[in-house]
Symmetry: C2
Subunit: 330 residues, 2 copies
């Protein structure tokens, strides 16, 4: 119902076929579908995430950043399952206002991240829309059969750990909205960078198999996502706010501001891994953190209590009251 | 950036978790991703198709029809590869104007087709949009390892076959646009039904392995899609317009009108299988057609000539001139 600009086939040939060149199962995007096997003793891990202009990214965000975030949010889900990245399908619904320069930058962003994370384009679909840019990825990873890290594997007494730092993206979003003036340029760049280009913990995730009991990635906010792990594991959690790892930039912005701290703990878009593990795994986890170069920090424990309830304690041990637990995408 | 209506988690629990109940790999939609194995000796076939309100369906189309078309277009791609359906992921970008009644009808449509085609929901994502309803499916099927039906397997001298009937959906679209007045109500219902609820040839597709040399499904139009098979196979094709199977409804609407006939041959949305096979396979193909209850009709042959060029001959053997080869989705 919308007349053609650059034809679908030309777009596929010019921009998408090169992205599929490194993944033989894509059949060069020449067939109706991709075909690939799963090695014996392994299972496929499959996740899907969509992003909409004006909801998940700003209309003036760089196309390369949008591409990176799209892939990385999916890669983060794979990492949370203990899977190593394999391939992905991509569907794009693009308005006519999207020009070739945008498409070139977008696919260049995909290409860069494909190389960085060892993933290839398996297939997809390109359609037009009268609405906002709408992007959907289904990502595939591989995990040893029966060993995927579930959300529900936590046990009372397990310690809780988180990778990297928490809250950068939430504070970056405040900056993007213009609600955090006066931030030092270097801190500003760090926080915005973490919002736009999260670091999916793909090198860490699959190494947690055999160490972690339960895991997921922080997308909706540390407290909310930890609540999911607890609810699925049938227990409660206690975390120490002072133990939650913050970047220097986040620490500088938060200062002693309880509202900013709450934003960091509940704001989401962190794409860090939060996981439970028995106390006895601590030394191995710290050695692993050093080996892969991703910090791991103990932030609390799984405790007896109403399933899904997460208590955050301040430095004095008193429970913090949070205005919200996390981000609900609807 | 858009405030919550019915929360994402409530929507997932109420409408999507039941769709995942029959596919154990979905882990009840309780985890970050689905996990499933591929049996030894089999490969996974993966295809993705997206649909946008106002482009691929009308805003007032029934939600159950939209669900059916979304799944069936993907199932048709699996069938064209010779794959048996296994599972799918679904991402939905829905405007706030979509109410629960729509969602209930949409997911009921998915549930009905899941049961009909033996496929389960593996996972997905639900996001909001300020734009039109945008739906994306990635579908998974299984095929014996190394035996997927490629587009490029056709050889000069092979006969060309097509399943079912061609042109119904294209004429149905003319009716939907109000450009085909005076069609008999029964014919009208048939043609609109074929537009809204195509019949993916899942029972036929996987049985073509060992018989067909090359295959694909007709989505962009018989002539255009056959052009793809020829181009990938490095040959040309000749088809006889009079041999192309038409439903009684299509035949009645077309009469002797060359424009209408051209619409049927190039209009797309047929979701029939077109495939090449050696002459010697004809008897087996006819027996298979009878067994699975899907008509198979010989419509022409692969011939020496410029790769991708499809010549359509009329009943007198003269080449037909077509205004367009098919539908380009951009």
């Amino acid at each position: 119902m919308i007349p053609p600009a650059l034809g679908e086939f030309d777009r596929i040939t010019r921009y998408f076929k090169p992205l599929a060149a490194g993944f033989p199962g894509a059949r060069g995007l020449r067939d109706d579908a991709a075909v690939f096997g799963v090695p014996e003793g392994r299972e496929l891990v499959v996740t899907a995430d969509a992003m909409v202009e004006g909801v998940h990214f700003f209309p003036d965000d760089a196309a390369g950043d949008i591409a990176a975030k799209l892939l990385r949010t999916n890669l983060s889900d794979l990492a949370a399952m203990g899977a190593e990245p394999l391939a992905y399908t991509l569907t794009t619904a693009l308005p006519r206002t999207v020009d070739e320069a945008w498409l070139a930058a977008f696919t260049a962003g995909l290409a860069a991240d494909q190389a960085r994370f060892g993933i290839g384009l398996a297939g997809g679909d390109s359609v037009s829309t009268r609405g906002p840019i709408t992007l959907s990825v289904t990502a595939f990873g591989l995990v040893p059969a029966g060993r995927a890290l579930p959300r529900w594997g936590g046990r009372v007494g397990d310690r809780l750990f988180v990778s990297g730092t928490i809250g950068d993206a939430a504070l970056g979003l405040e900056i993007a909205y213009g609600r955090l003036p006066g931030v030092h340029p270097a801190a500003r760049a760090h926080l915005l960078g973490r919002l736009r280009r999260p670091d999916p913990r793909t090198t860490l995730g699959h190494r947690l198999i055999g160490l972690a009991s339960g895991a997921l990635d922080v997308s909706d906010g540390l407290v909310a996502d930890l609540g999911h792990l607890c609810a699925e594991s049938g227990c409660a959690a206690r975390i120490d706010a002072a133990a939650v790892p913050l970047s220097d930039a986040a620490r500088a912005v938060i200062g002693g501001d309880a509202v900013r701290l709450a934003q960091a703990l509940t704001g989401g878009d962190d794409y860090e891994l939060v996981f439970s593990a028995p106390e006895s795994a601590t030394a191995d986890l710290m050695a692993l953190a050093a080996e892969v170069g991703v910090p791991i920090t103990a932030i609390g424990a799984l405790v007896d209590g109403p399933p899904g309830v997460v208590t955050v304690r301040d430095a004095q041990g008193a429970p913090l009251t949070l205005a919200r637990r996390g981000w609900d995408h609807f």
